[in-house]
């Protein structure tokens, strides 16, 4: 049963009382909240996600709550609690849904140590994953959102999960986080896509989230093999261009973008070496999304290693 099977009233009741168990890729998150802004975002953007059984093990227990005291009424705030403990500074209450998303990213990147986790968007075609590690402001999420709406399967907007056991790229399709100018760009580029309402004055500026394509959510158990590691960079007026990055340098740059490379020690080194060894590595500059998508559609499959 998917979350869409619940009416808005049932969803709010579930969130308020027993908690809602959402399955996203390999993880189950139990979330409690009475905040309408959070319920609205979850109902809109997680409609296609499976409801986990309540007796199932939940990897993460999250609560989005109003603080006690006057803060409930004067400039209300939202608290993010993980296992009952405050994890972050409170944010304005209208940022409840972005906080849920950011908090869930933190839950995964801080606790899922059976994966090498790289801060990267990930998409798949023909069974091979393209991993896009990039710092904020590089146009990574905009490119990811566009590719996800133009035939590439969304594996993740933020977190590349490389399974240590076998090197597979494990999907974690969740809403795509868009900021500032990217929001209107994507609204115009993909008018059929579903977006959360814009939330202004966050630490990242104005943010909105784009719903993950239903097909990507439905195929969240289908892993991919590494195919390409591409470092994207938006550059106004630039033609779409791929430039080969030597693998050893791609390794160092990917390591810089990994959350738990150092923590994993030798396992992290071996996992990243396996990923880079199996991938074609490029820098990519672009300014026009159509050109970028054409370039990605022409990527040659990497030679399969024996």
């Amino acid at each position: 049963m998917n979350i869409s099977a619940l009416s808005p009233a049932q969803l709010q009741q579930r969130l308020r009382e027993r908690g809602l168990c959402i399955r996203t890729g390999p993880f189950v998150t139990r979330v409690h909240t009475s905040l309408a802004a959070a319920a609205e975002g979850i109902g809109l953007l997680y409609a296609d996600y499976p409801l986990a059984e309540e007796e199932d093990f939940a990897d993460f227990h999250i609560r989005l709550a109003l603080p006690n005291g006057l803060r409930r009424w004067l400039k209300p705030q939202v608290l993010f609690l993980f296992d009952g403990t405050r994890t972050f500074k409170p944010l304005p209450a209208d940022q409840a849904f972005p906080m849920f998303e950011w908090g869930l990213n933190w839950c995964v990147s801080s606790h899922a140590q059976s994966y090498l986790i790289i801060h990267a968007a990930v998409l798949e075609k023909h069974g091979h994953a393209v991993i896009l590690p990039a710092p904020p402001g590089s146009g990574k999420s905009t490119l990811c959102a566009a590719l996800a709406q133009r035939g590439w399967r969304l594996l993740s907007d933020e977190l590349a999960l490389i399974r240590i056991a076998d090197g597979c790229v494990v999907p974690l399709p969740r809403p795509v986080s868009l900021k500032n100018a990217s929001i209107d760009i994507m609204r115009q580029y993909t008018p059929d896509a579903v977006f959360s309402r814009q939330v202004r004055d966050t630490m990242k500026g104005t943010v909105a989230h784009m719903k993950a394509p239903a097909d990507s959510v439905a195929r969240a158990s289908e892993c991919a093999r590494p195919g390409w590691v591409i470092f994207p960079r938006y550059e106004a007026g630039a033609d779409a261009r791929l430039t080969v990055v030597p693998k050893a340098r791609a390794f160092m740059r990917a390591a810089d973008n990994a959350f738990n490379y150092s923590l994993l020690g030798q396992q992290g080194f071996a996992s990243l070496a396996g990923l880079i060894g199996a991938s074609s590595c490029y820098d990519f500059t672009y300014s026009k999304l159509d050109e970028a998508i054409d370039t990605f559609n022409q990527l040659a499959l990497p030679a399969l290693l024996p």
Partner: protein
């Protein structure tokens, strides 16, 4: 003066083209080395050596260089490897 690897059993490498990534499990640090420096490190990890012996080991990398120039290259690479904590000088 001889040079030896600080923890040869802790070194893990991957080579791609003419560059090598070295993971030092002892420190947790990862380093990007050129092929010559990586070969020099491998030679030192196998057995401590002085600069003359190490220069001789790597002479095939620089067929156009004089022995003195090769010596200078090795000297610079030894300083680099020592600087990142992979090797150390030992008294004979």
């Amino acid at each position: 003066m001889k040079w030896q690897a600080i923890s040869p059993q802790s070194l893990h490498t991957r080579t791609w083209d003419d560059e090598v990534v070295v993971y030092d499990a002892l420190s947790g640090n990862t380093h990007l080395l050129g092929l010559a420096a990586a070969r020099l490190l491998a030679a030192i990890a196998q057995a401590p050596g002085d600069i003359a012996a190490l220069a001789h080991t790597l002479e095939q990398h620089w067929p156009d260089l004089t022995a003195e120039e090769a010596h200078t290259h090795v000297d610079a690479m030894l300083a680099e490897l020592a600087g990142i904590g992979l090797i150390a000088a030992v008294s004979p």
